[in-house]
């Protein structure tokens, strides 16, 4: 059973790698990433996102051909470990062109998320 759970946790991004259980989503927000189509550059440093992400309420608020970033924060109810998932995509009419998904496991974006929660 333990091996199956461990294997399952490898396949699911929102599963805790320590406890092998599904983490609960406790934050979800859409942001605008000021990069236009054809000029996307991948950034792994969390500081870049802290400086450049602009909070929006819906995709309609994002100008044409500008990238969007969906942030989700997960927390393990057993061990308290948290994980932040950034999904970067280009909204194109009613579709989305996915660029990449980045994970932060060491609380790099926690203060940014808390600051945005207050707004």
């Amino acid at each position: 059973m333990g091996i199956i759970k461990k294997f399952k946790s490898l396949l699911h991004d929102d599963w805790c790698s320590n406890c092998q259980i599904q983490m609960t989503e406790n934050y979800k927000q859409l942001f605008m990433l000021p990069m236009s189509v054809g000029h996307y550059i991948s950034h792994k440093n969390a500081d870049y996102y802290k400086k450049n992400l602009v909070k929006v309420n819906s995709k309609k608020e994002i100008p044409i051909s500008i990238y969007a970033c969906g942030i989700k924060k997960y927390r393990c109810s057993k061990c308290g470990k948290s994980l932040v998932q950034l999904s970067i995509f280009l909204p194109v009419r009613d579709q989305e062109k996915y660029e990449e998904t980045i994970y932060y496991k060491n609380g790099e974006l926690d203060t940014f998320i808390e600051d945005n929660r207050k707004i």
Binding site: S36, V37, I64, S65, L90, V92, R93, Q95, K97
Partner: protein
């Protein structure tokens, strides 16, 4: 300059581009047949002229078009306009100064002319996603944005391929996004031009 009629193709240039190398090859072959039936000169005439012609067809147009693009960008700056948006399409370059409402155009088949026109002259701008086929064959091989200037239609490709892609493929979505952006830019420039 601003009211100059848009000419997408210079017929003389187009014909010259295709036929001058052919004429050169024919002349070289005739000279070789009549005067140099063997020897170094014969080799130069028989192999050199087709080589030069092929090089011209592959690179000549691109080099001339590149010079035209540079000239247009220089002219745009010299006239005090800001290059807010530049789109290098397949055979057409479009430069837009959104705030001043000015558009710069350079065409591959008319490289001697660079146009800087008022955005007011744009009648209509729209996106063609090239969607075709039905069922599982539905898809596109090209995406473009189009606009009319004094009823002359200008098409600029944002994506072009010899394969057909599904409408939700990354290539098509990127092409549509670029085309949507350019249509938006052109319409904003037209509204800003007073």
């Amino acid at each position: 300059m601003e009211n100059k009629k848009i000419k997408k193709i210079n017929l003389l240039y187009l014909l010259g581009y295709i036929f001058i190398p052919m004429i050169l090859i024919t002349i070289c072959y005739v000279i070789s047949y009549n005067f140099f039936k063997e020897g170094t000169m014969c080799v130069i005439l028989l192999l050199g002229s087709p080589f030069i012609s092929i090089m011209w067809w592959i690179f000549g147009g691109k080099i001339i078009f590149k010079k035209g693009k540079k000239r247009l960008e220089k002219m745009f700056k010299e006239q005090g306009f800001v290059q807010n948006n530049t789109f290098y399409g397949d055979g057409t370059e479009v430069i837009v100064d959104i705030n001043a409402g000015k558009i710069g155009l350079q065409f591959f088949w008319n490289p001697s002319e660079s146009y800087i026109i008022s955005a007011k002259r744009i009648g209509k701008a729209w996106v063609d996603d090239g969607k075709g086929g039905a069922g599982f064959l539905e898809g596109s091989s090209c995406v473009s944005f189009l606009f009319t200037i004094d009823n002359i239609k200008v098409r600029v490709y944002t994506f072009k391929s010899n394969q057909r892609f599904k409408m939700d493929s990354n290539y098509i979505l990127t092409g549509i996004s670029k085309a949507d952006k350019m249509v938006n830019v052109l319409e904003t420039a037209r509204n800003n031009d007073k």
